[in-house]
């Protein structure tokens, strides 16, 4: 993520060994590419791990929504360690618990349940992004 035009950063976990990691990644893409392309941007977790200055600056300068695929919550922890503020942390497992019919399977490629779960996660994030933007808008005009 580069410019100041972005207002919210989305940081998905890099979970590679479990299907929830893929759901996290897919949900992030849906938000930044489809739902709110003009007001959100991705920050790669690997860059935060390495301490990349641009990535750290992005999470420090913007409210962050993290998406984690497991209880270890790497995305949320890395944003905090990078000096950022997690405005909202989304746990894929929690969304799944509220949508038990959307059972995800597959890692390289999600099944239909996984894709729908990713869509549900993306919808929650989009609502959070809208709240953040509305709040920013409100404070700008106050």
């Amino acid at each position: 993520m580069s410019g100041e035009e972005r207002k919210v950063v989305v940081v998905p976990c890099s979970g590679i060994g479990k299907t929830y990691g893929t759901v996290s990644r897919e949900a992030a893409y849906e938000v930044v590419e489809d739902a709110r392309p003009g007001s959100t941007g991705l920050v790669a977790l690997s860059l935060l791990v390495l301490g990349d200055e641009d990535a750290r600056a992005a999470v420090r300068a913007h409210p962050a929504v993290t998406i984690d695929g497991c209880k270890l919550a790497c995305a949320a922890k890395m944003v905090q360690e990078s000096g950022g503020h997690v405005t909202q942390g989304i746990a894929v497992l929690d969304v799944y618990r509220r949508n038990r019919e959307l059972k995800p399977q597959g890692i390289a490629e999600l099944n239909e349940g996984g894709q729908r779960l990713a869509h549900a996660v993306a919808a929650e994030i989009t609502a959070v992004v809208d709240d953040i933007l509305a709040e920013q808008e409100g404070s700008t005009h106050a």
């Binding site: 060994g17 893409y29 890692i107």
Partner: protein, 242 residues
């Protein structure tokens, strides 16, 4: 009896979400893990080196590890070396794409044809490296191979998968008044006990050498660590015998 995981190769992909090449690393790693070398490989999420525990950080000291990066920033290679251990090999997708004469991959979310070909090329390269690494004797402490030394163990690897949540176990021992976390110590004790090795000076010496494979032991502390291992192993054996 638990066995030390000595016959697998670790794969750490950058998974960079921003770039198509990051997606290539992720899918290539999964192709190796699930299809090409499922019995010989294991992976871990890169952020666990920071967000996880001591057992996670021991990953690249246990497994000769291939770092798989999408771009020249080499986040996976550099972070693995910084936080876990020196990777045995490093692969950068951009380099392979150039060598193979492929167009630059596009589509982080959905790879284009070039990206899909890059996955195949990258996975093949990684699988070849896995074979090379398993054919040599990896020195975990130096991050290099013992020249000409053959592989020595043949334990059958269990199902391939993610190392998240199944970190290398760590036991903290008191060494001369200092709490020292030692990766793999519970497994080492189990292995020694299972082999019928009773506490004693020779076994403690052997324990020390094994512990040193998986842990960076401060220079000049062998005597103190030896005493601690002797004490802890005796306690372990007493507990097992109880």
């Amino acid at each position: 009896m638990p066995e030390l995981p000595g016959r697998k190769v670790g794969i750490v992909a950058c998974s960079g979400e921003e770039l198509a090449e990051g997606t290539v690393t992720r899918l290539a790693a999964l192709k190796v893990l699930e299809q090409l070398r499922p019995r010989e490989t294991v992976t871990i999420c890169l952020p666990l080196f920071l967000a996880g525990g001591e057992g996670d950080r021991a990953f690249a000291r246990f497994y000769p590890t291939i770092a798989l990066d999408g771009c020249e920033k080499r986040c996976a290679a550099r972070a693995t070396e910084q936080f876990s251990g020196k990777p045995a090999a490093s692969v950068v997708v951009n380099d392979l794409v150039g060598e193979a004469g492929l167009a630059r991959p596009e589509g982080a979310r959905r790879l284009d044809e070039s990206g899909r070909q890059a996955v195949v090329v990258t996975a093949d390269r990684v699988a070849g490296l896995v074979d090379e690494l398993l054919g040599g004797q990896w020195n975990r402490r130096s991050g290099s191979f013992a020249e000409g030394a053959p592989a020595t163990t043949t334990d059958p690897p269990p199902q391939a998968g993610c190392a998240c949540g199944s970190a290398i176990p760590v036991q903290t021992v008191d060494v001369n008044g200092q709490a020292v976390p030692l990766a793999a110590l519970p497994l080492i004790f189990e292995q020694f006990h299972g082999a019928g090795k009773a506490p004693g000076a020779e076994v403690t010496k052997e324990l020390l050498e094994t512990v040193k494979i998986y842990n960076d032991v401060a220079a000049g502390t062998d005597a103190e660590l030896t005493a601690a291992l002797a004490r802890e192993y005796a306690a372990f054996c007493r507990q097992k015998g109880a």
